[in-house]
């Protein structure tokens, strides 16, 4: 599951900026969705993605 929330620290832009936090527990679902999205992308891009996932230990 991904969590995101408006930044509370600075009220001047609290309603404009969003931080994306990705829980490691949901990595499997994210990985699956992202791979599907990159299916039609150029090879360099999907290879770059796979390389990051391997380095992060998110691929078995």
């Amino acid at each position: 599951m991904t969590i995101e929330h408006p930044l509370p620290a600075d009220p001047q832009h609290a309603d404009e900026m969003v931080q994306f936090l990705f829980s490691a527990a949901s990595a499997g679902a994210l990985l699956q969705g992202a791979r599907a999205l990159l299916d039609s992308a150029p090879k360099e891009l999907s290879e770059s993605f796979e390389q990051a996932m391997r380095a992060a230990g998110l691929l078995s």
Binding site: M17, Q19, A24, S48, F49, M53
Partner: protein, 219 residues
Amino acid sequence: VLHIANYEKWARFIAYPQLPPDHLQRIRTLVQQIRALAATQLQLAPELVRANIFVPSANVLRMVHGAWDNMTWAPEHELALETDHGSAGRAFTDGTPFSIRRRGAGWTAGTLPGPQQARLNPRLQWVLSLPIGRIVRTPCTRPAWTPPTGEDGPAREGLTIAREILGVLNIDGLDTVPPMLQTPGDSRLKTLVFALWAATERIRESLALANLGEPLHDD
């Protein structure tokens, strides 16, 4: 190290963030592909979507000239962002993606100081900033305090974040804010941000090599 015999190596280093041609070409290709993918997924006309990379230089974040796509508003090329300014600054500092969108006539003072705002393309409406670093999983932790019932407290989930951050990839857009970006809870947006973020890995690799004055190693 700065011996004349090593000129080719250290000249590349001191020129950073002006990238040598091999890394620049590779990064530009990836930036183009990321921009195209973002435009498609956000259902925007490609000409309304742009992409660029900021790296630290003299204590501020500056755009890497040439490592961009569709950045035709020249004043933006000289933007200098403090590391806590804008979504790029926050992404660089926190190691997580950020997005920001314009509400009303302009960006708030908390986002960018006036001189930097003046450099922005007035048509700019939104920015998605992706930290370029090693993507890692932080370990799960349990709070030290244990409930009186004797049960374990809830585990704090580990997060996927970027470490050793070398720069920030900004994807931004003109004229309109895509509906998906207006609903941060949209699962498609979450997946898209994750995919785009992780796809920056080979940009990270090139920045790291260029930083050391190393040429591109072909796979």
